[in-house]
């Protein structure tokens, strides 16, 4: 057992706090098998699979009383300190130094919780990562110090005057430090860096080496917790209407905005607004958010969200790892994988930013984005170059991202489609519901049989009471995609046999039968549950944590704004910048006992 008091505290804290952070994400809506699942050696947590749709899914409860209560109280929920992800580190280094070497690619992978790599509770700094921060900082300092010396003119020449040189260094520390720390440095911090500069000038090959002084400043700033984490204390005065709640400072808001909308540090305009303390009111924040939304970097951040939420980032490694059977899919090659990912990314990007599309359109659009190699794969005409362009599709067959080859091939087997995995994807990722776990002993799936459709082979699931209890939640959602084979291409028949792509939505807010992916997509598009699921996922991505009970007002506000904007994704992101959860935090120490 652990022997030090310190590490005992760790376990106590983690154990007490984590369940709170886990919050609603899984528990909001979980579905239960109506028939008993087989026994397993797992812990008996079957109770948690009961329907608990009551909390937080705000459709239909916009009555005045509750809103008033929300308006009267400020409740930001938890604000855990957030470590930069690898993407954020690379982007920040680029903004800070114009460096394109992407040093964080050499770091250990970011820990992934839920669907996302930016969840505060999971991101830790191991000794290995700390060493890699050091190595990256040294390399960046070596690379960029020479050019930065231009900002210290008194340090140039043959025999610089140390006092004048130090004065220039101090100015550099103020300027560069503010961008690295994303706020002005305190006097004490500046003094430490001045001392470090002076010490550094003594550590070069020459007797007095100002460039080494700048190098050590860079090394230290790039390993500072104020650079590596998003540190927030909030303003000094308590907010009215909140218990132990403070508004975030304008600098803190600037960072929240830039890392949410751009996955990088604030730009000059955000710094200016923060300098003038003009990121305090909702109007000020919204104006900045709208300006930022209208830039290419916002499109990258939205792409980052979808890559993680839908699993687009897994298309290449996962399919490449498992392969596709060349006898059954001779047209498959690994070169298709990045095209598949880019199709869905390009489609969502075009829909959201060029067409102003809402969530429904992502599900129902009858166009996509392709280049020539991809069009050749799909067997459609149009694109003649490697550039992705808009291609109209047969609306009887295709609907939005749901019928994209990459996702359908990802949720498939090497030699066949997989109604189970596709149905599970719809249930878990799009409806935010968790089917209970499979039993420990799962019978072998039948091998591919050229005399039987995949659907017929999996009828066992509805025939066998042991299976049907849970598989009824997945298979009838996955059968809708049976016109798409294991590499996501449309097929009229399977082994010459007729395809039955009918299915049924159950235990959702929009239950009922459907036939084929297009009808399934339409039913999902019309579902409030799907829209709330999208909002929930964005909440998690934006705030680096799952929803908690304290977030009910913020969630309500987000969902109301989302609905009012007819489910425009950009408006959802704007709404995320206007909540209590985004603008305020608990006083440090106070959040221990909310």
């Amino acid at each position: 057992m652990r022997k030090t008091a310190g590490s005992n505290e760790v376990s106590v804290n983690m154990r007490e706090i984590l369940p709170l952070l886990v919050g609603l994400i899984v528990s909001t809506i979980s579905v239960g098998c109506q028939q008993p699942a087989p026994d397993s050696d797992e812990q008996a947590d079957g109770e948690s699979t009961a329907d608990t749709e009551s909390e937080g899914d705000g459709d239909g409860d916009g009555d005045g009383d509750e809103l008033t209560e929300c308006e009267a109280t400020i409740e930001p929920g938890p604000s855990p300190i957030r470590r930069l992800t690898r993407v954020e580190y690379n982007n920040t280094i680029y903004q800070l130094l114009g460096d394109t070497s992407q040093p964080a690619n050499a770091f250990p992978a970011d820990e992934v919780a839920g669907s996302f790599d930016n969840q505060a509770a999971a991101l830790v700094v191991s000794p290995l990562l700390a060493e890699q921060y050091e190595v990256a900082a040294e390399q960046l300092a070596l690379t960029h110090a020479p050019a930065l010396m231009d900002q210290l003119p008194a340090c140039g020449g043959g025999a610089p005057d140390p006092d004048s040189c130090t004065a220039d260094a101090e100015a550099f520390i103020h300027g560069f430090g503010k961008r690295a720390y994303r706020r002005p440095l305190t006097d004490d911090e500046v003094a430490v860096y001045v001392d470090l500069f002076i010490a550094g000038t003594d550590l070069g090959e020459a007797a007095y080496d100002p460039q080494v002084g700048v190098e050590v400043i860079l090394q230290a700033m790039l390993q500072s917790p104020h650079f590596l984490y998003r540190v927030e204390f909030g303003a000094s005065d308590l907010a009215d209407g909140g218990e132990d709640v403070v508004p975030l400072t304008s600098y803190e808001i600037a960072s929240r905005l830039s890392y949410l909308l751009w996955n990088t540090m604030p730009d000059a305009s955000l710094f200016e607004a923060a300098d003038a303390n003009e990121l305090q009111t909702a109007d000020q924040i919204e104006a900045q958010a709208r300006r930022m939304m209208d830039t290419p970097r916002a499109r990258e951040a939205v792409k980052n969200f979808h890559r993680q939420w839908l699993g687009l980032g897994r298309i290449e490694p996962q399919i490449a790892a498992n392969g596709k059977n060349p006898d059954i899919y001779p047209d498959y090659s690994d070169e298709l994988l990045s095209l598949w990912r880019r199709e869905t990314e390009a489609f969502i990007d075009d829909a959201v930013f060029e067409q102003g599309a809402n969530v429904e359109v992502l599900f129902t659009a009858n166009y996509t984005m392709m280049n020539k190699p991809l069009a050749d794969f799909y067997g459609v005409t149009g694109p003649t170059t490697d550039q992705f362009e808009r291609v109209e599709l047969d609306p009887g067959r295709y609907a939005g991202f749901l019928t994209h080859a990459g996702l359908l091939a990802l949720y498939a087997k090497p030699d066949r489609s997989s109604p189970i995995h596709r149905g599970k994807f719809v249930r878990e990722i799009l409806l935010c519901q968790s089917p209970p776990p499979p039993p420990d002993i799962v019978p072998e799936a039948p091998s591919v049989d050229e005399n039987q459709t995949t659907r017929d082979q999996f009828l066992q699931h509805s025939a066998d009471a042991l299976c049907s209890g849970c598989h009824r939640l997945m298979d009838p959602l996955g059968f809708g995609f049976e016109h798409f084979d294991g590499i996501g291409r449309y097929r009229e028949t399977e082994w010459g046999l007729a395809i039955d792509a009918s299915g049924e939505l159950i235990e959702t807010d929009n239950d009922g039968p459907y036939n084929g992916a297009v009808e399934l997509a339409a039913k999902l598009a019309a579902s409030d549950q799907v829209k709330n699921c999208v909002a929930t996922q964005w909440f998690q991505f934006a705030y680096g944590r799952t929803q908690t009970a304290e977030d009910s007002c913020s969630v309500e506000e987000i969902q109301a704004d989302f609905a009012a904007a007819d489910y425009d994704i950009k408006e959802l992101i704007i709404a995320l910048t206007l909540t209590d959860a985004f603008r305020y935090r608990h006083v440090i120490g106070a959040e221990e006992n909310p």
């Binding site: 590490s7 983690m14 886990v22 919780a113 830790v124 700390a130 440090i588």
Partner: protein, 455 residues
Amino acid sequence: MSIRKNHRLSRRHVLRGLGGAAIALPLLDAMRSDRAHAGPGDTPKRLIIMYTPNGTVPANFWPTGNGPDFTLSPILAPLADHKQDLLILGGLDLMSSLKGPGDAHQKGTGSCLTGMPLLEGDFAGDGGQSAGWAGGISLDQEVANHVGQHTPFASLELGVAVQDPANVGARISYRGAGQPLPPENSPYAAYQRLFGDSIADPLAVERRAARRRAVLDAVGDEHRALRDRLSGDDREKLENHLTAVEEIRDRLDEGVISFGGECQPLQQGAFMDPNLVSNMPIMGKLQMDLMAMAMACDITRVGTIMWTRSVANHVFSFVDPNITEAHHSLAHKGDEDAPKVAQNTAINAWYAEQLAYLITRLKAIPEGDGTVFDNTVILWTNEQAKGNNHSRYDMPYVLAGSAGGYFDTGRYLTRPEMPQIPHNKLLVSLLHAMDIDADSFGDPEFDAGPLSGLT
């Protein structure tokens, strides 16, 4: 963190003493006491852990016979040359993985070295289950806390094709609850980390070290100041980060590893992609070479090698070109699916072959009257017993090496079916083998002392 005592002659002092003049390498050997050649009674013990996932094929894993009279199974056959060095342990159950949050693979991986259930968290498991990191310190880190102060690196975490996502299924080592240590997949990066200073220009190394001291002192102060302003989990996070910074800082005062005797530079060959599954055989050997050399140079005495990860979907076509299905998927085939069971057996036998290679490497390093292997114990662990039903009873544990004569090897120990025996007892036995006093390890529910009959 200044507990680490520096018994070595600091390179800094030597360089200063010589006025910074160029120094021939042989002189540097004197800067480091060579424990690999230390006298009797001063021989360091080492612990190495090898993790492979997805369970085994029990029918083809367990030997026949028992005690000293046993015959190796198809999976263990590659270890034939080392049969007298093995202690094969039947009848142990991964009971700490039968409680708490998470799915079977998550729990098996998180508790295999911690003996603790997992924390709550958001790592998605099967069927909507979820879990956080493991809930306590791992065996290797507990040992490192006791013996790590003698070496520049308290422990070494290596991986072979440990694929993303980085979550509880991809980590076995923990500094404490919720504090995982990631394995390094690249033998090239790991070599640079351990030996980079040894193969670089000594003056350049010293100049860089001087800068690092100045920088890390400032960075450490800043971490301390920030930590003191935070509370709860945030404070813990900064505390852990600070510990890492302090370790790096302290290492600067330890001098540089110098080659000599059995401690020699490695030739790693042309660069190959460490993440490609088809490169696993080569990457695995490079990592084991590195682990053995780290022990020979006394850079560390505690190491883990994580082969792939829980639910690994690597296709082991390099073991047999007929294998086209991913490991986890193969592991789930029913017992009656003879061809697939044979393939899964081949994969596990290949892992046994890797263990045999590591043993051979360690046996090739003389130490005292014997070899480094004589003073080492290797634990081969899995996160499941049986892949196709997630059973975590009767875990396929193998010990190799006696840890300086502590274990009485060359035996296959079977145990009665009942009562269940928590694997925590094995973890306690390993602590004892490393001369660490402990009555229990991990979940207090399984507070039952060491295993009997191993010594």
